[in-house]
């Protein structure tokens, strides 16, 4: 009889970088059953998912629009995770940025864009930092688990937004709970005329670039990576672990805040309850999928943006639920994480 045993043997380095690439076909194989169950042709579904959005100029731009907040939440999560700070609160920090954007859009009535737009960007970042501050302080002062606190604060701010939109900030002319339209001087200008692609996309690309520079080229970045990869070893080397984590947590919150202000100032022009709808959580998937490397995160965000865009067309074209896109995303994360674990083992004959 053939006997097999599992043995610990890490895969070579080149294999690790291939994991995201291998994860995609594996995910599609796994989700085939679901697509068949939904009554669609899997091959056509994958075509709609992956190829169709890239086939026309309009849908291609739409992929970039969808990717804009994802680039930022992905970058946000990756920044915190790099330092071993498990920020699950990008969702909430995004909402904080959106609130700040809506507020600035209301109070800055006749502002010139030259002043309004920088203020919006700064305000969104700052709001994200503030929303991240509590859990970060609890973590470094009292060692309270940040996974729990950042996650719980997400729900808190969703209700806060709901309160604002149904109460003091409610736009009386609108049928839906939403805030007043923001001032013209605070609207992000379009990168391509007559499209939805706005300044936020550029902000996201800059954020990714800066993040790469900080993580890979500065002392702070090396400290962060050292803390993330080996807390005790970092402490032994004289690195102030708490201060490093605090910095990572706050900047991470700020980047997520940028995503929120972008959605307000570039897409909706007012605050709505469903302004995020899980963009912050997608950021966790993207950060993981991108291996926490800023450029990997960029690619992963574009890929998830593609699937998100594809999920809409797939549901219309094949008459399947739009949630199928979410399922594929979740399956992708599970497959990727499993591969990261499984690569450490090898099956051998006993």
């Amino acid at each position: 009889m053939l006997r097999l045993r599992l043995e610990r043997a890490p895969a070579p380095l080149w294999f690790r970088s291939l994991i995201p690439v291998i994860a995609v076909p594996v995910t599609f194989l796994l989700t085939t059953i679901l697509i068949l169950w939904a009554g669609a042709d899997p091959l056509r579904a994958y075509y709609e998912f992956l190829i169709k959005p890239l086939a026309s100029r309009v849908s291609l731009i739409e992929v970039l629009v969808k990717s804009t907040p994802l680039l930022l939440t992905g970058a946000s999560v990756a920044f915190a995770f790099s330092a071993g700070y498990w920020n699950i609160g990008a969702e909430g920090q995004l909402y904080a940025g959106a609130i700040a954007g809506a507020w600035l859009g209301m109070v800055l009535k006749d502002v010139s864009p030259v002043i309004g737009i920088p203020l919006m960007i700064a305000g969104g970042f700052l709001a994200g930092v503030l929303w991240a501050l509590g859990p970060a302080l609890l973590k470094v002062r009292l060692n309270v688990d940040e996974v729990v606190t950042t996650l719980l604060l997400n729900s808190v701010i969703v209700f806060l937004v709901s309160y604002l939109l149904n109460g003091p900030w409610r736009d009386p002319v609108s049928m839906w709970p939403q805030s007043a339209t923001i001032a013209d001087g605070t609207v992000f200008f379009k990168l391509i005329p007559r499209s939805r692609l706005h300044l936020g996309f550029l902000v996201a690309l800059v954020a990714i670039g800066v993040e790469w520079y900080v993580l890979k080229r500065t002392a702070l970045g090396l400290r962060m990576r050292a803390v993330g990869l080996g807390k005790d070893a970092a402490r032994f080397a004289g690195i102030n672990v708490n201060r490093t984590m605090l910095t990572a947590a706050l900047v991470s919150g700020g980047i997520a805040g940028l995503a929120g202000v972008g959605e307000v100032a570039g897409i909706h022009f007012h605050l709505i309850e469903s302004i995020s709808d899980g963009l912050g959580y997608s950021g966790i998937i993207i950060a993981t999928l991108g291996g926490l490397h800023p450029f990997g995160v960029g690619l992963a965000a574009l890929f998830i943006g593609l699937i998100d865009t594809g999920a809409q067309t797939v549901s219309q074209a094949l008459n399947v639920p739009v949630y199928l896109g979410t399922v594929v995303q979740a399956a992708l994360l599970l497959v990727t994480l499993s591969l990261f674990v499984l690569q450490n083992y090898r099956i051998r004959r006993a």
């Binding site: 002392a219 090396l222 080996g230 080397a237 004289g238």
Partner: protein, 506 residues
Amino acid sequence: MLAIQMQGIVKRFGSLLANDHVHFELAEGEIHALLGENGAGKTTLMRILYGLYRPDEGEIRVKGQSVVIRSPKDAIQAGIGMVTQHFTLVPTLTVAENVVLGGAGALLDPRRMQADVRAASQRYGIPVKPDALVRQLSVGEQQRVEILKALARNARVLILDEPTAVLVPQEVEVLFEALNRLRKEGLSVIFISHKLYEVMAVCDRITVLRDGRLVGTVEKSATNQTDLARMMVGRESFGVARQGERAQGEVLLRIENLSARGKKGLTALDNISLEVQAGEILGIAGVSGNGQSELSQVLEGMLKPSSGKVSVGGKDVTAASPGALAEAGVGRIPEDRHASVVAELSVAENLVLDQLEAFTRGGSLDRAAIRKNAEKLIGEYQIKAGPDDHTRTLSGGNMQKVLLARSLSRSPRVVIAAEPTRGLDVGATDYVRARLLEQRSRGAAVLLISEDLDEILALADRIAVIYEGRIMGVLGARDATVEQLGLMMSGTPLERLAETMEAGHA
């Protein structure tokens, strides 16, 4: 009648021979000590008996019957129970539930369970509260529950792996009483230890292992602590000549009345005072787990002392952070080298991790300087790796050289070296020792903490012996004898050394 016979047991771990044709016999109704230094092979031998390891060679007999023990389940079936230092109790269940767990039938009657446990507790003289939750118990009480658990599974042979290591003295007394009761009931106990007085207090016979080999089995009545120390340490004579005498130097490291608590909240360092002068190596000898880890952690800035003072060259560095200590001129070679490098960062990055400010130009890291620094240190310290290699891929010896290079290249005034050669091959060991001697001749004050007595004897000018967090005394390395050190390592203070040795020879 022999309860257990282990014959010709061989166990290899890679190139390490952990048990080399070991013979061990256990009679019924005896308490038998298994004595030896760290790494002598005691625990390996007992793990084989309990089915946690498979021997490469050898035979095990239980009551004369040859048996094959593949797993702890087989061992339990054969009437063998083991209590390790890590308890396997369910904290949220009661004592009675824990004792019955695994051996119980499908139906549980809490009242009968508690009555059974109470009866067993009285019969064996092992005091426990059957209805108490395990998580509320002290370590000693938990250990007694573990023993009862083994007895409830009809163990006739009980293996206790360093049972006193986690206990306070009063609990040790309770344990010893329980062991005597078990002996009266006709059970056999194997008592793994490296504390001589405990062995002499409670055991009938003593088997001594050294470097994986059997040194001998002796009756308690036919031996004494001095002889046991000699068997355990195993060096009749020694005398690595100090290379050159040392002039009296300035005191660079001063430790005054230092106390600290260990991981379990127990006192690990108890009022320690030491001085290390420029140009000398002070060795800290002792059996593992007597406070060495905590001492090195305090001096590395990784553990805050509960009281006392540490100063370097007159400057107070008590409870200073690792970074502040490095700044104050303390070169630190840590006990756990794997946990002290960032394995996923490159060699070059690890080599500058403690002084990133010095490698920053205009806000960004000076990558050329980092690389040059790495190339220089790799050459100087003979590290077999490239600057960009992940530190994870390095051998233990090369990892140690990375840590040596990082701290010693800053010409520290004080060097703290904790187990600097543990697990290294001969070449790397010699290299590290030569580097430490070099620091000594350079005029640094070196504190060498090592469980390897040979190492201490080869390098140290003076030897301090640590036992249960206290310094038993400081000897000049030239005058120290192996008996003296052995006795001090098992708890005899320097002042009482003469009388103890007198009694041993009488």
